[in-house]
């Protein structure tokens, strides 16, 4: 099996297991208030981290500040005026592409 196919097969199995672990073990139970309070904050914490990560991650790890940051600033402005999702991501791409030409 080639490295590419081995990667696909193993990642497939691991991904299924990751997603199923929580629902199988704690599925259908009601959680104490304090646990629910923590769970409610997992989404904002993860999403904010993903914004930072996807804006700054360099090829092969580490931080690289590049034109993506320009795109994200424009996206933030679009989000703030309640632009639809498609407009937000399109504006980010256009602003980033333009910045790459200009910088």
């Amino acid at each position: 099996m080639s490295a590419a196919w081995l990667t696909v097969v193993v990642l497939f199995a691991v991904t299924i297991a990751f997603k199923a672990a929580g629902p199988v073990t704690v599925g259908g139970r009601s959680m104490p208030t304090r646990v629910a309070d923590v769970i409610a904050l997992v989404a904002p914490a993860l999403l904010a981290a993903l914004v930072v990560y996807e804006t700054l991650v360099a090829h092969g790890g580490g931080i690289e500040v590049d034109a993506r940051l320009v795109g994200v600033v424009f996206a933030a402005a679009a989000v703030a005026v309640r632009a639809p999702l498609l407009a937000v991501v399109s504006l980010a791409a256009i602003a980033t592409a333009t910045a790459r030409v200009l910088i």
Binding site: A4, T15, G28, L41, V42, V88
Partner: protein, 197 residues
């Protein structure tokens, strides 16, 4: 379209169907493209997708039915559906979770097929600014999540604090941690929920 020189035509398409995670697929691909081993590529993909382990435990209590049915429904957990189905009070709408994932799966797989078959005609994805789509997408999801917290709890202050802390943790961990780890580490920011209101 990034994957074809490294993986051939079929493997990236199968990858999109089976793994369905941009972040994990790109992480694994970038290792293979740099000449890394399958083990290193798998490690990068696993770390990237470990955030779904955390999301699974968050969504778990909201899923009903027998264990196999819950495990199956859990496969609909992806970033956007997790955010969209979140009610902001720690519970999740399981129908929205599945309903939000189906159209995404179709467009993700179709996009991969287009990229593999005709990607070279589109040109360099970075010149088109396509890499900025991911952070912009997550930013829009984050905004919606903060608004829901505001609507449910009367104020979105705690969610805002968790978001700011999560972003800070990711930023601090990024320079020295391997792919994906900064995002998982940011889950710790949710512990501000332990603070009494």
């Amino acid at each position: 379209m990034l994957a074809k020189p490294v993986m051939g035509a079929l493997a990236p398409i199968v990858m999109s169907v089976s793994i369905f995670s941009g972040a994990a697929q790109f992480a694994a691909l970038s290792v293979l493209a740099a000449g890394g081993t399958a083990a290193a590529a798998i490690g990068a993909g696993v770390l990237m997708n470990a955030r779904w382990l955390a999301m699974g435990f968050a969504v778990g209590p909201s899923l009903s039915g027998a264990a196999p049915a819950r495990a199956l429904r859990a496969q609909a957990i992806v970033d956007a559906s997790f955010a969209i189905s979140s009610r902001g009070d720690g519970s999740f709408d399981q129908d929205r979770l599945v309903g939000a994932t189906l159209p995404q799966a179709i467009s993700w797989i179709a996009g991969t097929i287009v990229g593999v078959l005709w990607g070279s005609a589109l040109g360099d994805p970075e010149a088109l600014g396509l890499d900025a789509i991911f952070p912009a997408f997550y930013l829009a999801l984050l905004w919606g999540e903060l608004e829901r917290h505001g609507a449910v709890n009367g104020d979105s202050k705690r969610a805002g604090v968790a978001a700011a802390l999560g972003a800070a943790v990711a930023l601090v961990v990024m320079p020295f941690a391997p792919a994906g780890v900064p995002v998982i580490a940011a889950v710790l920011a949710a512990l501000v929920g332990l603070k009494r209101r």
